[in-house]
């Protein structure tokens, strides 16, 4: 066979260095969302609805009116807290995955503290200026200690934080199970605590909606995490520990100690997701209050490229899709799982799109491969006809 060398670039070529321009990253994000929605649209066709109209009505539900915006913000709040926890932990090289557990711990602590303020409780009624700082502080500290324990196991004994944290999720699930069927159970048929006192409910911020003050706390927390990582010595040391533990040690940074600190902060901020679920939405502790938020929050952090401010945007987008999907199911009878598929396709495409930062696809080569007939393409056919003879 004669094989002549053709001087064309290979179809897929590794870039000398990854392309980090905002244009490419933004382009990948937008293209990923568009592609996911297009494929999701195909899934809508069997329901005999116009996908474009379906999407429009979906966004109308979640962003088009005040009530919808309220729901979206309520959904986004715990996602932001979990995403912030993910960002702090992962940036320090501590790959914690047990946020379902920290939500449950946070929810339990918040419900417990709120029930103190019942007449005859541990503290009795407290004024809001005292109660809210107190409940945030206690929830943060206990959630922080919960995760710091895992950090300690990793730093001191080399324990694998991924496995330990996933296992601790079950501990948290059964702990809540125990609390609501035992010590904190309210009289009645359901395993749940009593409703928390009205004075302990997070204040609503937009009249006529369910949006509560938690979203403001979440945004403030995001700004603080951003400042921590960008502007402080501790943030510098956390990031160096995460990017290169060997360089960090070389620079005199106690990497284990910094990972425990990151674990504490991540646990504290993610426990607030449980707090807002109890004090802002359910008003009591019950089984299954975390609903997978602990994992979706990680996805949101990744969507936001592990940037605290990006996480706010990603959380609101994600929450909006979820709220719209629920409304679509109620009003048009389209299963909300279609939108769940779209949500996860977006994530998948954005993560896969990273490929384009590292590799270049030469469309010119692709076009030539398509149009140019391959000289030996006819050969197999001839062989086959020969066989027939």
């Amino acid at each position: 066979m004669l094989w002549t060398m053709q001087n064309r670039p290979p179809l897929i070529e590794k870039r000398l260095e990854p392309n980090d321009s905002p244009l490419v990253i933004g382009g990948i994000t937008v293209a990923s969302i568009a592609l996911a929605m297009f494929l999701g649209g195909l899934l809508l066709l069997p329901f005999k609805v116009n996908p474009v109209l379906a999407y429009l009505s979906m966004f109308q539900q979640s962003f088009g009116n005040l009530k919808g915006i309220g729901f979206t913000l309520v959904e986004a709040t715990p996602l932001i807290f979990i995403a912030l926890g993910t960002i702090i932990a992962w940036k320090t090289g501590f790959f914690y995955l047990g946020f379902e557990g920290t939500i449950l711990i946070g929810a339990s602590v918040a419900a417990w503290v709120a029930l103190w303020t019942n007449p005859g409780g541990l503290t009795g009624p407290l004024p809001p200026v005292l109660f809210f700082p107190l409940v945030f502080l206690i929830t943060f500290v206990i959630g922080g200690l919960w995760v710091a324990f895992v950090g300690f196991l990793k730093a001191r004994f080399g324990g694998n934080e991924v496995i330990v944290s996933l296992m601790l999720n079950y501990v948290a699930v059964f702990l809540v199970n125990y609390l609501v069927s035992g010590p904190l159970r309210a009289p009645g048929d359901l395993p749940q605590t009593a409703r928390i006192p009205d004075a302990t409910i997070l204040p609503f911020i937009i009249p006529g909606t369910r949006a509560h003050v938690g979203i403001l706390v979440a945004i403030a927390a995001a700004i603080m995490v951003w400042l921590l990582l960008r502007k402080t010595i501790l943030g510098y040391e956390l990031i160096v520990s995460g990017l290169s533990p060997r360089s960090a040690r070389y620079g005199g940074i106690n990497v284990g100690n910094r990972q425990i600190m990151a674990a504490f902060l991540a646990g504290g901020v993610s426990a607030l997701a449980g707090l807002v679920a109890v004090l802002g939405v359910q008003f009591r502790l019950m089984d299954g209050i975390s609903q997978g938020t602990g994992f979706v929050g990680i996805v949101v952090a990744l969507l936001g490229k592990l940037n605290p401010l990006g996480a706010i945007v990603a959380a609101i987008l994600y929450a909006g899709l979820s709220v719209g999907a629920d409304a679509m199911q109620r009003q048009m009878g389209i299963p909300s799982s279609v939108i769940t598929i779209v949500q996860f396709m977006i994530v998948l495409f954005i993560l896969a799109g990273d490929f384009l930062r590292y590799y270049r696809i030469n469309l010119y080569t692709l076009a030539r491969q398509r149009t140019k007939p391959q000289p030996d393409q006819s050969a197999p056919g001839e062989t086959r006809s020969n066989d027939g003879n």
């Binding site: 094989w3 943030g235 160096v240 360089s247 960090a248 620079g251 005199g252």
Partner: protein
């Protein structure tokens, strides 16, 4: 008669770089041909094209006058071309014979005939003076012999052209000499050898002809008999090169860093430093000579407490710091330039500015917890200017710096603190001549300022050129400490190989 191999107008582009720019190379039958050039000159790329690891963008390859196409190493081997990489590809628990026939099973039928293979290997080994026993396990062989196994492997596959990529980098002087003898013997039996190197003396000693590459272009092909190191250096670097550093005699001060009976293990728990004693004085460079892997890295890491010593003491200016943390030691004005500048000495994804404060963030803070961006920038700008780091700006990520500039950054950061003790590991590994000269001058400058410097290097020339005293390390112990001027190379090589000589001068007793 046509030459054995010809590469004509070879072009290889990587995005943004032309690694080989119309390179011509002719290799005759039975010659040793050196390929000389600095790092990044395109030597390895050219040979990897020949060996089928890269695809060329243009040009042609002729084997005995006939064009051939080499698309993968298998094609190269079939054409009689073999390559030995810097890292040997041998399976340690296997014997020499087993290693050599690995990958050839399909030609030999379903059953291994180890005996026949061993027989042929013994014969080959004898014919070429390789002196390798086919039944011995690789893990029991020294690096020099492992290299001969690699050569034997190529001969067993009937290679007529052998490409050796920087083969002397891992060898002690005696092993280098015996490698050269093997190379000459192969040449005399009609094999061709391509010898990739950046060491001028080796070119003159062993090669018949030399092709010099610079910035991807072949500058010239010369007969080694008709050239000299000065001319080669000028062609390789593109300007005149000074071969020595100016070093004034200086009386060393009192001992400043003392190591007493130090024991350190590696990550797997194997003892690597075994009862080591050493003293480094103010205002001296103590060179630590030794074959890589004899405990040098573990010693350096233990001195900074990046690795915990399992026994012994370290004294800094009379104070016991054996238990002090890395941060404390840095605070006590010890500095360290690690051998791995990318993974240890810097944080790749962070900017030059943030890398310039690694290890002393607290000095660049406000209110004890905020980073003082203004002073960080000023510090980084100052380092870039003072230490001649050639970069577009201090916001550039450290990972995007060339090896030379990154090393200058690490050096600048550590030296700008005016350290009392400086531990330097492989300071010029992989750097070009210009950066090497610069770093040597800086080290001498620090010594003259009064720093106690421990210089760990695999480059014997570097140790001989810079050191005031030279210690030889072998299997985690100091064999001997000598005053630099009185050192005999042969003797040094023997000690690096663990052979103690009874040298009357300056012997420091280090009995077990």
């Amino acid at each position: 008669m046509a030459p054995f191999l010809e590469m004509r107008n070879i072009v290889k582009r990587f995005p943004g770089v032309v690694a080989n720019d119309h390179v011509n190379l002719t290799i005759e039958t039975g010659e040793v041909h050196a390929l000389l050039g600095e790092n990044g000159a395109g030597k390895s790329t050219l040979m990897q094209i020949l060996y089928g690891l890269y695809k060329r963008d243009a040009g042609e390859i002729l084997l005995q006058g006939q064009p051939i196409e080499i698309r993968e190493p298998r094609d190269a081997i079939a054409a009689g071309i073999g390559m030995i990489h810097q890292d040997f590809m041998l399976i340690k628990p296997f014997t020499v014979a087993e290693n050599i026939i690995v990958g050839l099973e399909d030609e030999a039928g379903p059953l291994l005939d180890l005996r026949a293979a061993a027989h042929r290997l013994t014969e080959l080994s004898k014919r070429h003076g390789l002196d390798v026993d086919p039944s011995i396990r690789i893990e029991n062989l020294s690096v020099g012999v492992q290299q001969r196994v690699e050569i034997l492997k190529l001969l067993y596959r009937n290679a007529r052209l052998l490409i050796l990529d920087e083969p002397t980098a891992v060898l002690i002087p005696q092993e280098v000499e015996s490698l050269f003898e093997v190379i000459r013997s192969l040449r005399d039996k009609g094999h061709s050898i391509v010898f990739i190197t950046h060491k001028l003396q080796e070119v003159i000693t062993v090669a018949d002809r030399v092709t010099i590459l610079r910035d991807g272009k072949a500058i010239a092909t010369l007969k080694t008999a008709e050239t000299n190191p000065t001319e080669l250096a000028r062609m390789m670097v593109g300007r005149e090169v000074l071969f020595s550093v100016s070093k004034t005699a200086r009386k060393p001060g009192r001992p400043f860093l003392k190591v007493e009976n130090l024991h350190v293990t590696d990550n797997a728990g194997h003892p690597k430093v075994q009862g080591l004693n050493l003293e480094i004085c103010e205002g001296e460079i103590l060179g630590l000579a030794g074959v890589d892997g004899n405990g040098q890295s573990e010693l350096a890491e233990a001195l900074m407490n990046l690795r915990t010593a399992s026994g012994g003491r370290v004294l800094l200016n009379g104070q016991d710091i054996t238990r002090a943390t890395t941060a404390t030691r840095r605070f006590a004005n010890m500095a360290y330039i690690p051998s791995d500048r990318r993974q240890v000495g810097s944080v790749g994804p962070l900017s030059i500015a943030y890398n310039s404060i690694l290890g002393e963030v607290a000095k660049y803070s406000r209110a004890h917890f905020l980073l003082d961006e203004h002073r960080i920038r000023a510090h980084a700008e100052d380092l870039v200017k003072r230490y001649d780091i050639r970069v577009a700006g201090i916001r550039l990520e450290a990972s995007k710096l060339s090896g030379g500039n990154l090393q200058k950054l690490v050096l600048a950061r550590e030296l700008s603190r005016k350290p009392d003790v400086l531990i330097v590991e492989q300071p010029t590994r992989g750097l070009d001549v210009g950066a090497t000269e610069y770093i040597h001058a800086q080290l001498i400058h620090e010594r003259d300022r009064g720093a106690a410097i421990l210089l760990i290097s695999a480059e014997l020339e570097e140790i001989l050129m810079l050191s005031d005293r030279i210690a030889v390390i072998y299997r985690g112990k100091i064999m001997n400490v000598m005053v630099a001027g009185s050192v005999d190379i042969t003797e040094l090589g023997l000690m690096m190989a663990g052979i103690r000589t009874d040298h009357p001068r300056n012997v420091v007793d280090n009995a077990e």
